[in-house]
């Protein structure tokens, strides 16, 4: 008997008892729906929680400061600095070639003076209320996804851009702007340089005017402006070309203000931090906090998986029950098939394909329904969060591995549930089966 013959028999057997087939498929559908909805919501919520803990960056990111690590650094998530320690290109190379390190992203910060609009004749003097001293934080913006940066509005500046900046909410406070109104406006930034004049220490500025393209929340460095690392490098070079500006504008002691090191996996974070500490640098990562939260999330996952497994187990029993009934009903047909030469495996394949069809159809429908329910839950939760003045959560991202696993899983479950009745059918004595006619 060919596979096509078996499939024809399986599909027509299902159509012969449409009520039973629909109910069995419905049982599988409900199981798959529950599992997919729970998994989808749990995954979204879990990744959101971890994302919140890591300020939008990967949970494997470690912030390294241009500071010496104190003796307790190895035992705490917090930064334990004990004096300055320069980060050089050699440091970056050493980090890049260390085991378990996925990415190394240098950070350069530079003191500046910012002047929000209006400019020109209507501009306020630097000493006026509108101008303020702050810091630009420069990073390789291509690597922004590996950094603790969350875009609240707009888009990140183009990588290497010298005339686009992103601002934090502290700039909005200084400039008296709302989040949306700041986008598209310009800001003048003076990168200061100290020099010795005849009448003592003086300052001059390298002025740039940049467009604000995003409002972000960032934990890369302390500063209201996020710029490309090229922009920050220019500002640093300009400052170094002068003399030490004292407390207001000191010369940088390190080429890089900090480094974000991304470990290959969560399990590697501890080893990478130990390596960084052994190099003598203070560093920080929510290592213990994330591990602790992940343990709780794991418990939640197990509980939810247990609920889903019970639902799928019930669905599997439904499939098995339907097939047991089908085998009883079809003893005559099984006997006839065996009498005309069908092998045990032909009969087995017929019933297993019937189970597989039920599992596949139920799995596909259930998975789609589960995703829709996850979306609906997301909308409901976000409506509530918005009403409470809280930030919304991104739910219902389509996870192809989850979809594939759900459909494959329910199909395999249905086959597994059908094995016993299918074996019973395959092992029926042809004589008994013909006698049943």
């Amino acid at each position: 008997m060919t596979w096509l013959d078996s499939l024809t028999l399986a599909s027509r057997s299902l159509r012969r008892r449409p009520g039973r087939a629909v109910l069995t498929i419905l049982a599988v559908t409900l199981g798959a729906t529950l599992l997919v909805a729970l998994a989808s919501v749990a995954t979204s919520a879990g990744s959101r929680i971890v994302s919140k803990l890591t300020n939008g960056g990967p949970a494997t990111a470690i912030k390294v400061s241009a500071s010496k690590a104190d003796s307790d650094q190895a035992y705490t998530d917090d930064l334990r600095a004990a004096g300055p320690k320069a980060i050089t290109d050699a440091t970056l190379n050493a980090l890049r070639h260390s085991p378990h390190v996925a990415t190394v992203i240098p950070v350069i910060t530079s003191r500046i003076v910012a002047v929000p609009p209006p400019f020109g004749a209507a501009a306020s003097p630097i000493s006026g209320v509108s101008a303020f001293g702050d810091t630009v934080v420069g990073v390789d913006l291509i690597q922004a996804h590996n950094l603790p940066i969350t875009v609240l509005a707009g888009r990140l500046p183009q990588p290497r851009s010298l005339n686009e900046v992103a601002i934090t909410e502290s700039y909005l406070d200084h400039a008296g702007m709302s989040l949306q109104s700041a986008l598209g406006t310009q800001v003048e930034i003076a990168e200061p340089q100290a020099f010795q004049a005849q009448n003592g220490l003086q300052y001059r500025g390298r002025w740039i005017r940049a467009e604000i393209v995003a409002v972000v929340s960032q934990q890369v460095g302390t500063g209201a402006f996020l710029v490309s690392i090229e922009q920050a490098r220019l500002a640093q070079a300009w400052a170094i070309a002068g003399v030490d500006g004292g407390d207001a504008f000191p010369l940088p002691i390190s080429k890089y203000t900090g480094v974000v090191v991304v470990a290959s996996s969560l399990d590697d974070v501890h080893a990478v931090r130990q390596m960084i500490t052994s190099l003598g640098y203070a560093n920080t990562a929510p290592e213990h906090l994330v591990a602790s939260v992940l343990r709780y999330l794991r418990v939640v996952d197990i509980v939810l998986a247990g609920i889903g497994a019970i639902a799928l187990g019930i669905a599997g029993l439904g499939v098995a029950n339907a097939l047991v009934a089908a085998v009883r009903e079809r003893r005559r047909e099984i006997g006839v098939l065996k009498a005309i030469g069908a092998r045990d495996r032909d009969i087995l394949r017929w019933f297993l394909l019937e189970a597989f069809t039920v599992g596949l159809v139920g799995g596909v429908i259930g998975t789609l329904a589960g995703l829709l329910i996850a979306l609906w839950v997301g909308v409901s939760v976000n409506t509530y969060l918005t009403e409470q003045g809280l930030q919304s959560i991104q739910f219902g991202d389509v996870s192809w591995p989850l979809i594939g696993a759900a459909i494959l899983g329910t199909s395999l479950l249905a086959i597994a549930a059908g094995v016993v009745p299918a074996l019973e059918a395959a092992r029926l004595s042809p004589k008994e089966a013909v006698a049943a006619a």
Partner: protein
């Protein structure tokens, strides 16, 4: 080629006429005894049966209900193995065939025809025949099915399901299915038991024509004396014993 309806429905002298060389399987039973359990009771269905049916023979097996006719047919058809004695069909010693070989024997050597037709309601007449062909991995299942339906006069009912056919038509489809793998032995268990007289005669005519044209051995189990009269040889079973 339509074969039915053209021959008189009476017994013929089969030593004359358009017979082909006998290609069927000879059947030999030596001391075959078979018991089965019904609840707590053990029933001896066959007792020390000795039987020889020549290759290409046309044999009727009669007897009252419970005489062991169906059991004997099941043993010869390879649906179960005899518990003692020797049973050979052609080259096959059925007591020694393993399960897979027994299935292959049923597939290639035997053509079964049941009183209740034994067609799968899920499939059309054509598909029932094709399914039997596909069990033997035939690569020409569709033309074979069409030829056989033509042969039994049901080509125009090829796509009809068994439920849409009359009893006689169903039994003719069953005959076509039995023939699709070109068996050397046709076993018919009360083939006319559920048919009216006219349909019964048509089916018998068809079986006899097939027997003559193909030279296969034909064993018919029947209660009906008129049916039995048409066979070349008749045997009677009573209480599991073959009567002389």
């Amino acid at each position: 080629m339509r074969l039915i309806g053209s021959r008189p429905a009476q017994a013929r002298d089969l030593t004359h006429g358009p017979r082909v060389a006998r290609l069927g399987s000879a059947i030999h039973l030596r001391g075959v005894t078979h018991r089965y359990r019904s609840g707590r009771t053990q029933i001896e269905a066959l007792h020390d049966v000795e039987l020889d049916i020549p290759a290409g023979g046309y044999v009727a097996l009669t007897g009252p209900s419970g005489a062991g006719k169906s059991t004997l047919l099941s043993l010869i058809g390879g649906l179960e193995r005899p518990q003692s004695g020797t049973l050979t069909v052609g080259q096959h010693n059925l007591r020694q065939l393993p399960v897979d070989k027994l299935a292959a024997y049923r597939r290639t050597t035997i053509g079964f025809i049941f009183q209740h037709f034994g067609l799968l309601d899920l499939l059309s007449a054509r598909e029932n025949i094709e399914l039997a062909a596909s069990l033997s991995a035939s690569s020409k299942r569709r033309p074979q099915a069409r030829d056989l339906l033509d042969e039994v006069g049901l080509l125009d009912r090829a796509e009809h399901r068994p439920g849409q056919l009359s009893g006689g038509e169903r039994q003719r489809v069953a005959v076509a299915r039995a023939l699709v793998n070109d068996p050397s032995l046709i076993l018919a268990d009360e083939p006319t038991g559920n048919l009216d007289a006219a349909s019964a005669m048509r089916v018998l005519d068809l079986l006899e024509r097939v027997h003559l044209e193909r030279g296969c051995t034909l064993l018919v189990v029947t209660h009906n004396e008129a049916v039995a009269q048409r066979a070349e040889q008749r045997f009677r079973l009573d209480a599991g014993r073959l009567l002389p």
